[in-house]
Amino acid sequence: MRKLLFESLIKPVLTEPRPDPDQAMLAELAAALGQSARQKLGRSLSIREIDAGSCNGCELEIHALNNPFYDIERFGLRFVASPRHADVLLVTGPVTKNMREALERTYNATPAPKWVVAAGDCAADGGCFAGSYAVAGGVSAVIPVDLHIPGCPPPPEALIRGLMALVENARHGADLTARP
């Protein structure tokens, strides 16, 4: 172990430069959140991930955000264990009818101000599972959504760009309390 730790002192850093926030997502957010100037959350967001019925592909890529290449915590983005600690719910999957109540209850357990990010094509509109007797639809069929990150699954870079757009909005002071 000593050798491994020592090498990490001399090896080049794996972590990659910060990607720019996605312009299209910035626009979506600006429209969704409004622009009254109030800085609520600074540049730090706590994220609670919820799988509402995904195939677990999105979870693999969300996990990758924590690896040393992406190292998402350097952007002030942190995954937390409880919705009570969260500013952002990152929801994946088509919302199955069996998960609908759990998603609603998690949303209600999250203190305002809060954002909901729907990650992946299924979370947008049910994806290839839309129309099933067991699927309620995309995330917005059950709780209000502020941002969609497309992809099947969205690669880590797309996830970061989307979440960075969220942080940028927080900095510019989007009014988050106006949400129902």
């Binding site: 919820i50 195939c55 690896n67 088509p94 199955t96 998960m99 067991a134």
Partner: protein
Amino acid sequence: MLAGQLADGRWALAGMWGEAEAVNLALLDSDSGGVADRSELAIATLPCPQGQFPSIALHHAPAHRLERAINDLFGLEPVGAPDDRLWLDHGRWGVHYPLGACTKSTEALQPYVFLGAEGEGLHQIPVGPVHAGIIEPGHFRFTANGETVVRLEERLGYTHKGIDSLMAGAPIDRAAQLAARVSGDSTVAYSIAFARAIEAALGVEIPDRAHWLRALMAELERIANHLGDIGAVCNDAAFALMHAHTSVLRERVLRTSNDCFGHRLMMDKAIPGGVNVDLDARGMEKIRSLLAVIREEFPRLIDLYDETASLQDRTVGTGFLAPALARQYACGGYIGRASGRSFDARRDFAYPPYDSLRFEVPLFKEGDVNARMWVRIREVEQSLGLIDQILTGIPSGAISVAVQPAGRICEGVSLVEGFRGDILCWLRLDPDGTIARCHLRDPSWFQWPLIEAAIEGNIVADFPLCNKSFNCSYSGHDI
């Protein structure tokens, strides 16, 4: 009689699924003795015109949840079944028996009755469906005496998406897209299983090169998952350093996969008729350098795992799965192979190109978290060797053939080794080539029930460790 033979261990139950008026059983002759290509798979059909069939679970416990799922989806009743609770149906679909009579459900939600555990000082801990980590949803009901788990009961079905019903009537390419999304971590293996079943049904011979490219993707997928989980198990034992290092290697595998095949998880790349992306010399070189990096880094991480006493203290002897249970449940993958069950569809059914590749199937008998770790470590090494052989021996030529409808009703079945274990795909095609019925059985069906046994007597705090060492698929099970 079949039920008796299953109970005696003459056959292993490899799957059980319903149709409108019948129940099908997949039976595995599991006594290959480790000799290649000696196993047999048989499908038995039980007609049930009265909407009933004799319960297999009465004699053979692994059929329990499968029968409950058949009842939920088709309304076929297992007569004499020891457990008549609903399983996938949580009372929230708005219908009953969606693949059978499909009647409207109007009654109010019924609470799910968990099995009892009574005694002085026992308390219950409900966990889920939303968990604390970035994982899939499911409910665990622990009954504990102090720190010690007395009983664990799982309740699954939260990610049930109705894939079997979406498959019915779908054209082949749409069904292939669904098959690739039954369990995202095994997307390549699922695509191969589905494609092989289609090819078996239609009698399609695909080009050799396609077989080899599929195997290349399947082994990359296996390595990526094993690397991720080896680190994650250590992370659940509070040893984050290992997790950081293996997640770097995993990321390198995914990036190489993306460079070579155009998708990090190689989703939708193996298709009925072959594969839809070829590998050029540049791609082969990238994979060779990936192998070199893993070969340099991985052994040092394994030494670190093996020599860290605090880590061994958590994994050795924890979450013991008895070999007899692994055998009874025909438990596949690293879970079965860590408890002495030597089965690997790549060897035992020797589907191409594995019939012309050399590899060993690692086997351990200890059955604890540590043994499951070692199976996966050894499997990474075997997969590296397989990729070497594939890069050297891959034949040239076409990568796919056209798939045409047969003009008649036809059936196909396949068994493919994913990283988690053997995936069964059975399907029937209509004359125009659309799917009449397709069922994909995840290895987790025969692994989930065994966590309940493996956790007994362990402390609650070791559950994440045990659960991660099994790493069953919620989505694959809930379909």
